[in-house]
Symmetry: C2
Subunit: 454 residues, 2 copies
Amino acid sequence: MSAHVLVADDILANRKLLQAKLSHEYFQVSTACNGQEAVDLARALQPDIILLDVMMPVMDGFEACEILKADRSTQHIPIVMVTALGDREHRLKGLSAGADDFLTKPVDDFALLSRVRALTKYKLVMDELRSREASGRRMGVIEGDDPNGQMSPARILIVDDNERQARRISLALKDDHLPMTIQEAGGLSGNKNTGIDLLILSLESKSFDPLRICAHFKTAIGTRDLPILVIADFEDEARGMRALELGASDIIMRPIDTEELSARVKTQVRKKRYVDAMRRRLDESMELAITDQLTGLYNRRHMLNQLGQFLNRANRGDGPLSVFIADIDHFKSVNDTYGHDVGDEVLKQFAERMRENVRPADIPCRQGGEEFVVIMPNTAGDVASSVAERVRRHVCGEPFRIDSGKGRLDVTVSLGVATTLSAGETEDDVIKRADEALYEAKHAGRNQVKSRAA
Amino acid sequence: MSAHVLVADDILANRKLLQAKLSHEYFQVSTACNGQEAVDLARALQPDIILLDVMMPVMDGFEACEILKADRSTQHIPIVMVTALGDREHRLKGLSAGADDFLTKPVDDFALLSRVRALTKYKLVMDELRSREASGRRMGVIEGDDPNGQMSPARILIVDDNERQARRISLALKDDHLPMTIQEAGGLSGNKNTGIDLLILSLESKSFDPLRICAHFKTAIGTRDLPILVIADFEDEARGMRALELGASDIIMRPIDTEELSARVKTQVRKKRYVDAMRRRLDESMELAITDQLTGLYNRRHMLNQLGQFLNRANRGDGPLSVFIADIDHFKSVNDTYGHDVGDEVLKQFAERMRENVRPADIPCRQGGEEFVVIMPNTAGDVASSVAERVRRHVCGEPFRIDSGKGRLDVTVSLGVATTLSAGETEDDVIKRADEALYEAKHAGRNQVKSRAA
């Protein structure tokens, strides 16, 4: 995969050298000669990776890094800091500025290309998610960001058949994370492998083929999103490259610098969580379409969809399906007497009481106005009636708080229950019978449950 | 990138051979010994690629291919048909069954690996989109599929500096598509490159470096999603592989078999459209969250969001912002007299008349009930009033059709217009003044426009 790399260095010879190396491998290269230019070009060109020299006039690499990582339009672009060999202080400073990776000068070809390739790996997926999220933001259905604060500890599985080495890695990570060696987990196929955030895989392992493990994790459906950090020997560059080709996300060389290890772990975990958060926001934005804004219950769209699906199952031989319709008594007079704001408060509190008094598998929806529908899969009529009765009792049992808690209002509700009678019934059939039962409850004096169950 | 490959062949030696070759390259392999088993395993294991032998007992490869491509749970999995060398009839039959690619026996290593690698390329993106779409389908906000019928002609750009060859390719494709040679387009940087569906790139071109063109297209923001089909020489396998590494989607060898060409073109275009359709469905599912279900206008959520955004712009120095609130007169009595169904009909027709009579840049929203809000960016008060007046006239000008067209009903509307007065006004300020103007219109006898513009 090709990529667009922005190289920022104040020395022309360095820029030319990096440009030549990257260009030879068919990367597209833009250059900047100080931190400020790097920030401006990154915003304008949206490169895929930024190589940032540390010491530059006007604005140094640390400051540029901080600005780029704080800006939503550039925070997703990986930054590789280029530091002088062995300059631990600069590395530390770069880390706290949010850099994703390091290269030391003079820049070695293998290191350069393996870093750049590793960082372009998830570009396609990231771009895709960012582009869908951008649609959602334009529409205003996605808002806000994830808190950028302290990272919660990550579950890390260390796969190294040399138990002493594995324990040493575990020890280096255990202050910030929850590492577990493969020996502690009781092998690779245990159930403990679920829910982990990062796999650390030693390519020196002898009792299994580490490349095959890498391929296996990147292929299996439950683990293909899991980032893998491989540990390779300096003499075994080729296998390290192969691991990156097979889907590993990053590589660290032996002997392990524990500070570098913890930085790389942090970066991998942060990236995974960034992507997970984007996925979650997309799913949540779709959920908006099935949520009633006022009460947070499901809306009519979802109610009809779910009713159809569960009716199909009931018709295919699952147990009977029940529904009840709940209609708040004399709701119009609440609105007329106290105004719409109080009316909305009543609807919200009613929804809350209903949610608390149905069972976990029941699906409470707002049908519109003061009318609610609860779908009850696999539920016989008598059970449905008793749930409806519990809702009724908890509504009339205690007055509703209105006017931000200052006032009190007695509220009652009438409910009509219906249960599927025979295979082949439609949504309309069931809803119609629940409506008839509700009508009966209203005419019998309200604040009661009537049923048209079989 | 690794992948899970399902190999279906009735001859054990063939299965073993393919399994050994793929496994050596760290692909994960499952095997099936006839078409029926292949279908069952594909559904259960969800492999990334299926290699399907043509002649098998129980169910042959063509039938299995048709079944897999008709099933939503497997239709996205690329299928490579393995046919006898030179068997054109089988190739044709495989094509019409929906196969994505071909290999001929005896299977050559280079061909096998380059095909399999090319097909795994967009797996990550495809998986991501499919998984978000699956969320939407579970919630019922994504429904239906795209029509699987005739493919509309694709815009294809042929990049080959040998003009005679380019024209020959163009000629082979022009019955089904809209091919254009780079010579006809007037070079690579022309505006004609936008909106194309496929790039065909000859690796033999001498006047430019074709690999650099490939990298450029896969890197530039507007074209990175564009599929590239490269044409390579049999003697130049290495460059072909490099092109695939850089992001090309498929490869065809010279001398070009025009039938193979058109099959590969068809597959690439179909894939691009499949992905585009998934993107569109995801965006549409997010749109549901800002759409009023009854009228199709924007809902209150979007109204508030847009009002906030355009107020910010107005405050930053754009022209004034106007809004009007429209409230259908005596709507409650429509509901009471004719029932909710007629009420809904009136709301829908009102929304339609309003949509037709505001300007293209205006944003018509349903605020709730019989109340509508139109946001008018960059619009002075007098213009806003005249648009509101046009809406009023078109509502009272002709009776609404009710009862599915059988009845007629006179409807009128009252409208209140407000315009931003000074920088720093909030949404509430503007809406409140529009509300006051509306109140005035109601009290002055309804069916009129009042304004609180500056």
